[in-house]
C-alpha cells in the first residue's frame, strides 16, 4: 500500500493506525537485515508520536527519516563515526513538518558517510543494500530512505539532496525522488549548517503522487496537481545524455518520447554550455561551505573509525583555493542566467539521472562509452546543476536493465515549478501504464505482506 493509500485508509477508518505501525515495525524486523536500510527504530517514541498525532494529511502514516537531522530523542550521526560539528537531540524542520502532519517517524535511514557519496556503500552502520539486488549499491547519500521505500518497509521517506543525494538513490532503487527548489522544503536543524546554499530535504516514494503528498508536508504548502499539457521538453546533447550505457540511453529516449506524446508536448534540442564547469562549481562550493567553522587542529583528532576516504577528503577540502570558490560563485551566476533564458524556451530539461544502473557494492565502478569511471565521478555530472542553481529536479523510473536494475530519467524545471515536475512525472506514469512505478524488487515481491 502506497503512502496516499495508507493515509486515505487511516482517515477513512479502514485501517487502524496502531496496527499499521505494528505491521511496519514487524516488516522492518523481517526485511531490514537484508537491506540495512533502517539503522534505528524506537517503537515507544513512534507510539507516542501516534498517540499525539493531530489530524493531518499523513495522520498515522509511518515514515523513515535520513540520519541527517536530529530528533527530540536522538542526535543525528550523519552516517559517520565522528562529526566535526557538535550534535544533540532536538526538533528539526522536517521532524516538525512530519509531526504536525500527523506522521509517525518509525525509523532513521542509513546514509553514505558524511553525505559524501552517490553510492551508499560507505557508512558507519555498514552499507545499505539495494532491494533490487542486495549486492548492488542503493545509491547515496540517502541510501537508507531509498532502500526502505523500495523494499516496502515504509511507503515514504525523507532524504536530503546536496549534489544529487535524493535523486541517485531514487534512480538506483526504482523510486520517484524530488529535489525541491532551494528553500521550499523544511531544512532547519540539518547537520551541515554551514552549507547554506545547496542542500534541500526531499521526498522519496514509489510514485509522483506519493511524492506530492510527502512533499506538500515538507514544503508546508499543498503542491497542487495540474497537468503537463503542452509540455515543452528540452534535451541536451552532451556528456550527461550521451556518455551512458546503451540501455540507459534507449530507455530515457523512449521515456522522453512517451512523455511528449502523453502531454501533447514538444521536444527541442537546446544548448547548455560549460556544464562541466557548473558541476565543478557545485562541488567546490559544497566542499568549501562544509568546512565553515572547522579549525585545522580538529583534523588532527579524527576518529580512526572514519573511513580513509573521509579522513583524506576532509583534509583536502582545507586546501581548496579561495579563488576557485569565488570563481565557482561567478559560474553559478552565469549558469543561473543561462537557465533563466532557457526556461523561457522550454518547461523542463530532460536527461538520464544516472549514466548506468546500480554498480556492485564492492566496486562501485561503471562502464561507460568513455571508459570505466567511479560511479561518483559519473553520477555527479548530471545532478549538480540543480543544486548549484537552486532549480527543482525529479528522478523517476523508466525501465529495468537486462540485469533487472532500475533506470531513471531526470527532469529539471525553473525555480518554483516543483508542481510541474510532479505533473510531468504523473503524465509519464500514465504513458507507460505505471509499469515502472509499480514494479517491485524481488525482495519486496517475495512476501505477500503489503500492509
Amino acid at each position: 500500500m502506497g503512502l496516499r493509500a495508507q493515509a486515505a485508509a487511516i482517515a477513512a477508518g479502514e485501517v487502524d493506525a496502531a496496527e499499521l505501525l505494528d505491521a511496519t515495525l514487524e516488516r522492518i524486523e523481517q526485511r531490514n537485515p537484508a537491506l540495512n536500510a533502517v539503522v534505528e527504530t524506537f517503537p515507544e517514541r513512534s507510539r507516542e508520536m501516534l498517540a499525539a498525532a493531530p489530524e493531518g494529511p499523513l495522520r498515522g502514516v509511518p515514515i523513515v527519516i535520513k540520519d541527517e537531522w536530529p530528533l527530540p530523542w536522538r542526535a543525528q550521526r550523519f552516517g559517520a563515526a565522528q562529526l566535526l560539528a557538535p550534535t544533540a537531540p532536538g526538533e528539526s524542520g522536517p521532524y516538525r513538518a512530519l509531526r504536525d502532519a500527523g506522521a509517525v517517524i518509525v525509523g532513521v535511514g542509513n546514509m553514505h558517510e558524511l553525505g559524501a557519496g552517490s553510492t551508499g556503500n560507505v557508512s558507519v552502520y555498514g552499507a545499505a543494500r539495494n532491494p533490487w539486488n542486495t549486492e548492488r549499491c542503493p545509491g547515496g547519500s540517502s541510501s537508507g530512505p531509498a532502500s526502505s521505500v523500495a523494499g516496502r518497509l515504509v511507503a515514504g521517506a525523507v532524504g536530503a539532496d546536496g549534489l544529487g543525494s535524493v535523486r541517485f538513490p531514487a534512480a538506483y532503487c526504482g523510486l520517484t525522488g524530488l529535489k525541491p527548489t532551494f528553500g521550499r522544503s523544511a531544512m532547519e536543524g540539518h547537520h551541515m549548517a554551514p552549507v547554506t546554499t545547496l542542500i534541500v530535504s526531499g521526498p522519496l516514494c514509489a510514485d509522483a503522487a506519493d511524492c506530492r503528498l510527502l512533499g506538500s508536508v515538507l514544503f508546508g504548502e499543498e503542491l497542487a496537481a495540474g497537468d503537463a499539457a503542452g509540455l515543452r521538453i528540452g534535451i541536451v546533447r552532451n556528456q550527461v545524455s550521451e556518455d551512458v550505457t546503451p540501455e540507459v540511453g534507449k530507455a530515457c529516449e523512449e521515456a522522453i518520447e512517451a512523455l511528449s506524446a502523453e502531454a501533447g508536448g514538444t521536444v527541442k534540442e537546446i544548448s547548455l554550455p560549460d556544464l562541466e564547469a557548473a558541476t565543478l562549481a557545485a562541488i567546490l562550493i559544497i566542499n568549501s561551505e562544509s568546512m565553515g567553522g572547522t579549525r585545522p587542529e580538529q583534523l588532527n583528532q579524527l576518529d580512526p573509525e572514519l573511513s580513509p576516504i573521509a579522513r583524506g577528503t576532509l583534509k583536502y577540502r582545507m586546501l581548496l583555493p579561495a579563488a576557485a570558490t569565488v570563481q565557482a560563485t561567478r559560474v553559478r551566476t552565469l549558469t543561473r542566467r543561462r537557465l533563466a533564458a532557457l526556461f523561457a524556451e522550454v518547461d523542463v530539461i530532460a536527461w538520464p539521472t544516472i549514466p548506468a544502473p546500480a554498480p556492485p557494492l564492492e566496486a562501485p565502478l561503471v562502464e561507460l562509452p568513455s571508459g570505466t569511471q567511479t560511479a561518483d565521478q559519473a553520477n555527479v555530472r548530471g545532478a549538480a546543476l540543480a543544486n548549484l542553481t537552486g532549480i527543482p529536479s525529479i528522478s523517476m523510473p523508466v525501465g529495468l536493465s537486462g540485469e533487472g536494475l532500475p533506470i531513471a530519467l531526470q527532469l529539471q524545471a525553473a525555480w518554483g515549478r516543483d508542481e510541474l515536475l510532479l505533473d510531468a512525472a504523473e503524465a509519464l506514469e500514465r504513458a507507460n501504464a505505471r509499469r515502472w512505478v509499480e514494479a517491485l524488487p524481488p525482495l519486496a515481491a517475495a512476501e505477500p505482506t503489503e500492509a
Partner: protein, 86 residues
Amino acid sequence: MHDHGHPTIGQMANRLGLPAEMESAAPDSDFIPAGLASLGIEADEVDLAVMAAVHGLLWSPLLDLLALDTEDVTPERFPNLSRAPE
C-alpha cells in the same frame, strides 16, 4: 608588457629565492604536504594517498575553471537561490 617599472615574475621570484619557472599544475607531491604543513594538519600515508587521488581528479578541472573567462559576469548581489536571477 613590463614597462611600468614592475618586476617580471621571474625577477620577483629570484628576489624571493624562488625558481623563476614555477609549476602551475601544483603536483600533489609538493602542493599537498606544503598545504597541510602551512595549516598544521597532520597526515599519514593513507591520508596522503587519498588526497593525491582526489587532487588528481580535481586539480586539472579546477585549473580549467579558473581559466574560464567570467570577466563579463556581473555577480548577483544577495542571490536568492529559490528564484530566477534578477
